[in-house]
Symmetry: C2
Subunit: 311 residues, 2 copies
């Protein structure tokens, strides 16, 4: 792949996505002492950046493949994204979801006519259930984060951000399965001169941080984090990209995630989900490192159950 | 006053306000069957349109008056607006607030260095307390809604909206003290050909609805509404403007306000306060009337205590 691949991907998915706005807050800038711009993927169709990768993945399938449908497992947002993109392309979508996924995310899938198959909340259970449907229905498996088409689709958020703010010194994203940060790292590599990419990750699910240190894919024994979208693992497609192009990962505590989320809600008056607050929590934690810098943050999503908030 | 008065006001306050964005949602459009644009004053400085009127009122004072300070009573947002505008102009602000005002609004005043004087939560108690400070300190009284400079400042939100969306058939605002709808009505009168103005009002504080019918200012015996910013009465400066230029008032129930608020939170991913949801609740209630129309809604503010939500 190269720069032209990403431009083609962006053109292909444009009819299916919003070009989301870039917002800033003088209050938050003053708090950090930096010039921060937020790429608002919480305003993306179905409420998260995942629409970009899902649309690209389905658009990359042949007509024969599309007729047999698609299957995915997801903690929620990719499920909605696949359901919506499939619906727009008249493709059947089978969605494997953990039984403890937020109700608002299950409802989202139903809104977009995806068929939900529930399973236990472990990566192993999700994969086994999806595999079964793949075999039974002949459906194409779409991975939420560890698939080239998904990673390239995700790149388009940072491409748009860099087009609007070419002077950025650094872009931060949350790190869950690694698909967003890998896509962002490719975008920064091909569409900026020197823009670094840094990840924010919960201390309670810090597999990417440990993987970058050990040089191999590490896993989490538990996922005790409020950032429900980040309860996943890196994969063999995105990890090499992360190793090559990501500057580092900053880990944050649970209270730092909740504090960052509340600050964005109260000061910017926009709704973001806990996972989405992780990179801003990282900036608040390491203020000195970002002082006087032009900082881009990808606000990954806004699908939160307003009846079940962490504050 | 005339068209030029409002253009001068807008130019005068521009350095102190944001030109707020105009957003739309295809999901909400489909729900109503109309083309709705939302003027996001929840993203205004201090989080509400009140900044516009407060800035204009203080900028209209003489240097001698500014030295003696300003005093106001407010359920919250005008208090923050006066505090912030006064701080920017190096003027002392005395703020009379009901003791049961949301903590987030009291904190806002403190952030902007206003001096809070608490009183009972009745219009009579607020006025008496403000009057005392006016006499003791020689401070200029600023009324949250019933003062020409405040009304003209409020007009600038609809002026910006009409400049961006000149084809609007109707603009809706909430109705509390009447300052926003009066200002909006003047803007529509001077800056559009045929754009109607309609108010949304809680059934539980429907003084404006009843006043338009009786032809004189009616009052509320109680204010049992979640829309805390609308627990006020019309005044003799804004009522004649409303009588002359407002098409009508649509009343909504409490559950309709909460439902409209939640829809905007969940679908648009933006934070609005309960008062702010009232005009969209009115549109949802009277869908047929707005079908296929170009509808503007002024989202008045986003200062809500996220620890104390109505859902």
């Amino acid at each position: 792949m190269n720069k032209e691949t990403l431009i083609e991907v962006h053109n292909r998915i444009k009819p299916f996505i919003h070009k989301t706005p870039v917002l800033s807050s003088s209050l938050l800038n003053d708090m950090v002492g930096a010039n921060i711009v937020f790429k608002c993927e919480n305003f993306q169709k179905m409420g998260a950046f995942k629409m970009r990768g899902a649309a690209n993945a389905i658009l990359s399938l042949s007509n024969e493949e599309r007729e047999r449908g698609v299957v995915t497992h997801s903690s929620g947002n990719f499920a909605q994204a696949v359901s919506l993109a499939a619906k727009k392309l008249d493709v059947k979508a089978y969605i494997v979801m953990p039984e403890n996924a937020p109700q608002v995310k299950k409802d989202g899938v139903k809104t977009y006519k995806g068929e939900i198959i529930e399973c236990e909340s472990t990566p192993q259970a999700r994969e086994a259930t999806a595999d079964k449907i793949k075999k039974e229905k002949g459906a194409s498996f779409l991975h939420p984060s560890n698939q080239d088409e998904v990673i390239y689709g995700n790149s388009t958020a940072a491409m748009e951000l860099l087009e609007e703010c070419p002077e950025l010194d650094v872009i931060l994203t949350p790190v869950g399965g690694g698909g967003l940060i890998a896509g962002t790292a490719l975008a920064a590599h091909y569409f900026s001169d020197n823009c670094k990419v840094i990840g924010g990750e919960p201390m309670e699910a810090d597999d990417a941080y440990r993987s970058l240190i050990s040089g191999k894919i590490e896993t989490n024994e538990s996922f005790h984090t409020v950032a429900d979208g980040l309860r996943t693992h890196l994969g063999d497609r995105n990890f090499p990209i992360i190793q090559k192009h990501v500057d580092k990962i900053i880990r944050v505590e649970e209270y730092e995630i909740i504090n960052a989320m509340r600050l964005i809600w109260e000061r910017m008056k926009i709704i973001i989900e806990p996972s989405c607050a992780v990179p801003f929590a990282a900036v608040l934690k390491n203020k000195g490192e970002f002082r006087d810098k032009n900082v881009g943050i990808i606000l990954s999503g806004g699908n939160v159950d307003v009846k079940n908030l962490p504050f």
